[in-house]
């Protein structure tokens, strides 16, 4: 694919396209997911409408946040496997959230989720850095090891609590959109953070592009690589921690969305950042709609985290194979 020239008009147009895609999917998700036409009274319909609006908003902000975090981690670590989950950020947020809601305060659990995510990045960074420099692969391996530790800690907690709570933890760990009661406050926080991260990453996009070429090249061209890294890691961890606090750990959005977009748009982060913001939102809204339809048909809840993993993987493999075949033909 030959890269198109980057213009302001094209930029606005692409944002508008992604925005309208998200909006269309969101409207369908609200109406179809809530079966808004099927209710007896107007009041019932309004209740369900608000419920669906909140859940679609939740899916949107979380999808946007996770896709952005994945995109940023992949860009700065120059590693296609980098993702909030692989780096242990989600695990840290999840462990802190679980510990807080079980033993401290359920109300403060989201705050501890943030703290867990940030602390994890600090720990991973402290272990992986050598004289202020970060080796991408050391960082990734450190994340994997920290993740293993968190997984064991969560298992330990699961064994220690009462059996009824075991089920709750297991369900939460699968990642679910929506709670029984409204959570608009937390949705707004995550949405605000995701929007802030999108704007910040859009401003840093040129730096991402140069780092992707090579750190030394980027450094030689005047990009403050280490500072860019720290800022990006802190922001990406913050949005990840907030998402985990809202819906639990939902995997694969941060891995799949940026890769799909790279296949469609090419490697330019100036295009990728806004696209990831809206496409991540669209992706998770769609996944939540499928989960909702499944729930309506079978009366069994389908955790959206399970769905993103199960649908995401084959799709990803298919696209990867297609791209290889095409590039082979070109050669």
């Amino acid at each position: 694919m030959t890269p198109r020239p980057f213009t302001v008009g094209g930029y606005v147009l692409s944002i508008a396209t992604w925005l309208s895609l998200w909006f269309g999917v969101a409207v369908v998700a609200v109406v179809v997911g809530g079966r808004l036409w099927a209710w007896d009274t107007r009041l019932q319909m309004e209740n369900v409408l608000w419920l669906r609006l909140e859940w679609v908003a939740t899916a949107s902000v979380v999808g946007a946040a996770l896709a952005l975090a994945g995109l940023a981690f992949q860009a700065l670590l120059r590693n296609p496997l980098a993702e909030p989950y692989i780096l242990g950020v989600s695990g840290g947020a999840a462990l802190a959230f679980i510990l807080s809601s079980l033993f401290l305060s359920a109300t403060l659990a989201p705050v501890f989720g943030f703290v867990g995510a940030l602390a994890t990045v600090a720990i991973v960074y402290a272990i992986a850095q050598r004289r202020g420099r970060l080796e991408p692969y050391t960082l990734l391996l450190t994340g994997v090891i920290i993740n293993a530790f968190y997984a064991a800690a969560i298992m330990l907690v699961t064994v220690l609590v009462r059996p009824e709570q075991r089920g709750d933890i297991a369900v939460w760990m699968m990642g679910n959109i929506g709670a029984f009661g409204p959570q608009w406050g937390l949705v707004k926080v995550v949405g605000g953070l995701a929007a802030g991260a999108a704007i910040l990453f859009a401003l840093l996009a040129k730096g991402f592009n140069l780092v992707a070429v090579g750190e030394d090249t980027a450094g030689a061209l005047g990009v403050p690589v280490e500072r860019l890294r720290i800022i990006t890691f802190v922001v990406a961890s913050l949005v990840t921690g907030a998402s985990v606090a809202l819906v639990g750990p939902i995997g694969f959005v941060g891995l799949i969305c940026p890769h799909l977009l790279r296949m469609i748009l090419g490697p330019d982060h100036r295009r990728l950042v806004p696209a990831a913001f809206f496409f991540g939102a669209t992706f998770l809204v769609l996944a939540d709609l499928l989960a909702c339809l499944w729930e309506g048909a079978s009366d069994r809840a389908l955790p959206v985290g399970v769905l993103t993993a199960m649908c995401g993987v084959p799709f990803f493999i298919y696209l990867l194979r297609m791209r290889w075949r095409r590039s082979a033909e070109i050669r």
């Binding site: 809530g34 009274t41 009041l43 019932q44 359920a106 009462r162 939460w172 009661g181 639990g248 809840a301």
Partner: protein, 341 residues
């Protein structure tokens, strides 16, 4: 010492004060080994203590915490994870458990412990379990007395609600973090039977064993009254308030619109044991506010005496066979109506 134990048991379950006196004489123990009972399920532990067998119980499951004397006994795990060494050290002669599994009972039988598997998903199974325990421990009269008392209690509740309107009631557990669904009592469960006894129709329309439902299904069921059983980590006031808030948005549900979402923090509502009568009575008083005593009324009412906790007031002669509702229940009840205290 035995007298003291009997006394304490009686403090919780007044009816057994008399039963305990009957058994005050040393049991005519034949030459057999002394009875050493292991209980691996909370409702069985409660039943054993209610039958005056508390001093024969040597071990309990991790979750048996009622009555207080039971909580003081050594815990050996639960039916999923049994601590076999601990069990061997306690030298029980007989073990009771509610389980569908075969491996644990087999294992205990292999250790030479008589092991009795019981069922208590429904009321009749719970009563049958009491009968079985009576047979196995050589106390059939105590078992029959307990069964009679439970049936009397339930009949009393049935009489009270007879002729009253029969609202649609949804019995649910609180929402859990990260899940949009709540667990509710399906038809055919033990709690469903209690709701029927308490003069209500289960709002969940199908036969099911504790299904989960989302808010959309709650809106569709449109229950007249919602009873949420918040126990354990859901019982503190801030959690109760959060649960109340979570329900407020469902304005189309009649229970929400009329302020009939009741959050009860009692732990015994879902235990098929000696306190089912108390549970049915609390449910009836919650579902039918018209049953609550008139402000000036004296004597045996639904609430017994206003100030004493259940354990202390249990010997009160004015009460019926049931002890008064625990204080927390009264607070929860008076909080939901907004009218008189």
């Amino acid at each position: 010492m035995r007298c003291r134990v009997v006394h304490l048991v009686a403090a919780f379950l007044p009816v057994f004060f008399l039963a305990g006196c009957d058994k005050g004489a040393p049991p005519a123990a034949p030459a057999a080994k002394p009875l050493r009972i292991l209980s691996l399920t909370p409702n069985i532990t409660e039943i054993l203590f209610a039958m005056g067998l508390g001093d024969k119980v040597v071990g309990r499951s991790t979750y048996c915490n009622y009555p207080a004397e039971a909580a003081a006994l050594p815990a050996v795990g639960d039916t999923m994870q049994v601590g076999l060494e601990k069990i061997i050290r306690l030298e029980p002669t007989i073990a009771f458990m509610v389980t569908r599994r075969d491996d644990v009972p087999k294992r205990l039988e292999g250790l030479g412990i008589r092991t009795v598997k019981l069922q208590s998903d429904r009321m009749d199974q719970a009563l049958e379990s009491i009968r079985t325990i009576g047979r196995e421990t050589g106390r059939p009269e105590a078992a029959q007395a307990l069964i009679d008392r439970i049936e009397t209690d339930l009949a009393a509740v049935r009489r009270r609600v007879a002729g009253l309107p029969c609202p649609k009631v949804l019995f649910a557990f609180p929402m859990t973090v990260g899940s949009s669904r709540i667990m509710v009592a399906g038809r055919g469960t033990f709690v469903d039977e209690l709701l029927t006894t308490a003069g209500a129709e289960n709002a969940y329309p199908e036969k099911a064993d504790w299904p989960t439902v989302g808010p959309q299904q709650v809106i569709a069921m449109a229950p007249d009254v919602v009873i949420i059983n918040a126990t354990g980590e859901d019982a503190p006031p801030d959690r109760v308030e959060a649960i109340r808030q979570a329900w407020q948005s469902l304005t189309s549900v009649p229970a929400v619109a009329r302020g009939r979402v009741h959050i009860l923090t009692e732990t015994f509502l879902t235990i098929p044991g000696p306190r089912v009568g108390l549970a049915a009575r609390l449910l009836a008083a919650t579902i039918h506010p018209e049953l609550r005593p008139e402000p000036g009324a004296s004597g045996a009412g639904w609430h017994g005496h206003a100030s004493e906790p259940a354990a202390e007031a249990a010997g009160d002669a004015q009460c019926e066979s049931l002890p008064p509702l625990p204080r927390r229940a009264r607070i929860a009840l008076s909080g939901c109506e907004g009218g008189r205290p």
